[in-house]
């Protein structure tokens, strides 16, 4: 598959946006500017970017507690995502959701749910809605390998498969559900193997190779848009940091971490773009500088934004 140059550069920029964004979130947390906790997406960027590069603005995604990357990849503005994480009035959810519950309906980002696995039936429901409204939209549902052990995984995929709904079930297998290694809770190695149980394709891809993710998602989107139903895509990936902010991730062997860090999705994609002469060193550096500046602007916007008025807590319970 040959991707046009513009698309590849766009994907490179998105990867960098998410990485720089997450590094800034980490710093801001250290400065006590982020209330609560954070679950950083650094290391998994190729999954969100590779999938969302196939989606139109009016397509939908559902996300998880580790959702900053999904939001950015689907086209949310950095400054408003950052503002939400800082609990500010200018955040997408006006400070009501925070890091674990961001949504941006204007770009089809139907929201992150912090209950593991809860997004699968909701994504299937968006798919049913597309079917009933007779549009050609698709839904990408992100979740981790831990979520694949929830009943909602089974129930949601079964319904989507049964009704041939236009849904991509994108499993980001980062090997650990909090501190629990996959092999301690599952007798199989590939979540994608479960696809056969629902009569849908289950595909394993290198989740740290944005082109591989792009291509797998491209096929799944075509399948979904043409009414052939869902695909289960398992992206093998790894988070750079611990589960949440204060997790030193000592349960992961040093060698394993080192091995995965060598397969960093951004380093790899940059090398590939240079090798393919899609970008020169200077152009790649320039993109990174631009991204760093944009993230700085987002931080400035978020830090300078006001908190919501306390009584706004009473709004939006009912319409």
């Amino acid at each position: 598959m040959t991707l046009e140059k513009r698309k590849k550069i766009e994907m490179y920029r998105k990867l960098l946006e998410i990485r720089h964004f997450e590094e800034k979130v980490y710093d801001l947390y250290g400065q006590n500017l982020v209330p609560g906790t954070i679950h950083l997406y650094a290391g998994q960027e190729a999954v969100a970017v590779g999938v969302c590069a196939n989606l139109r603005r009016d397509d939908y995604i559902t996300s998880t507690h580790r959702g900053h990357g999904h939001c950015i990849a689907k086209g949310a503005q950095l400054n408003r995502v950052m503002a939400e994480i800082l609990g500010k009035k200018t955040g997408y959810c006006k400070g009501k959701g925070g890091s674990m519950h961001i949504a941006n309906f204007s770009v089809g980002m139907l929201g992150a749910t912090a209950v593991v696995g809860a997004g699968l039936p909701i994504a299937a429901g968006a798919g049913l809605s597309i079917r009933l409204r007779k549009t050609d939209q698709v839904v990408a549902c992100f979740f981790g390998e831990g979520a694949s052990n929830q009943g909602t995984f089974h129930e949601g995929i079964n319904m989507a498969a049964l009704w041939k709904l236009p849904v991509l079930f994108v499993c980001e297998n980062n090997l650990y559900a909090m501190g629990t290694r996959q092999s301690r809770v599952m007798a199989i190695e590939n979540v994608a193997d479960r696809g056969v149980a629902y009569g849908i394709p289950g595909v394993v891809v290198d989740g740290n190779d944005v082109m591989a993710v792009y291509e797998a998602a491209c096929e799944a989107v075509e399948r979904a848009r043409s009414g052939k139903g869902p695909t289960l895509i398992e992206c093998k990936t790894y988070r750079h940091k611990g589960h949440s902010r204060f997790d030193p991730a000592t349960y992961r062997p040093k060698e394993e971490v080192e091995e995965w860090m060598k397969r960093d999705p951004i380093t790899r994609f940059r090398a590939r773009l240079l090798e393919m002469k899609t970008l020169t060193e200077e152009e790649a550096d320039k993109i990174e500088q631009d991204v760093a500046a944009a993230v700085e602007d987002a931080v400035k916007f978020a830090v300078e934004s006001p908190f919501p008025a306390p009584e706004e807590a009473l709004e939006h319970v009912y319409i």
Partner: protein
Amino acid sequence: MREITYRDALREALREEMLRDETVFVLGEDVGRYWKGAFKVTKGLAEEFGDERVQDTPISESAIIGVATGAAITGMRPVAEIMFGDLSTLAMDQIANQAAKLRYMFGGQTKVPLVIRMPFGAGVNIAAHHSQSLEAWFIHVPGLKVAVPSTPYDAKGLLKTAIRDDNPVMFFEHKLLYSIKELVPKEEYTVPLGVADVKREGEDVTIVATLYMVHKSLAAAEELIKQGISAEVIDPRTLVPLDKETIVKSVKKTGRIVIVTEDCKTGGVSAEISAVVAEEAIDYLDAPVKRVAEPDTPIPFSPPLEKFVIPDENKIIGAVKEVVH
């Protein structure tokens, strides 16, 4: 006006709203053309509107509500049926954490126009897993509305309003009510959420009752008047929003209140209504608040056991006499 059953009234509401708005659709276990709903409420709808708008589902309560929620936030108005209210336990995360909270968590970016219909309640000897009254669980979840119609007229009018409402509405249908009949207008009408109905006016005591207990309370009131006690029977019709004003106004008039519900007494609907009266009308009370409710047991199977735990006319009459004398 013509006499129709509660079941027919619900079906008419669904049909009229499906005709009125093509985004309205029904989903649930066995709601389609083959079984027509466990209590036959959806009979005929699949034939008229097609199988896609009257969608049979796998036995997956969590996904029924999750799918309905996903459809609701993307432009549809689903009416999901949970075959027995007891089974809402299987969908609790999707109801209480997802449907109820999405709008709030996302700062008002979305709305969840979803109705969850639930046959429920005791009285037909199907024991602990198919007979519970769980309304109180849902009034404790901000973001949900809770409708509790006791008559065919109210069932139709409230269901139509619930379907048009942009919030998730838990719609409780007591299974002993399905066959009761009442005169219901042929013409279009709706019943607003949050407006109680005074089912019988009286002077000496206020009885607040819900669902099937409205009928038992009305029967008790009929007996009480023969004994010289005039009871006012109020049906809140919805628990969220709750028409506190009508209840408080009545208590100020009668000075006495008996609350009759089929759910467990502890932490139940009657507890919430008692608290409202304590906060807003305690100075008007001439006797302590009295509650007639289920005595905090699972619903037992054997007929004499079930009969023992469910409120009835005698228990209501006994409670009224305690507060009146």
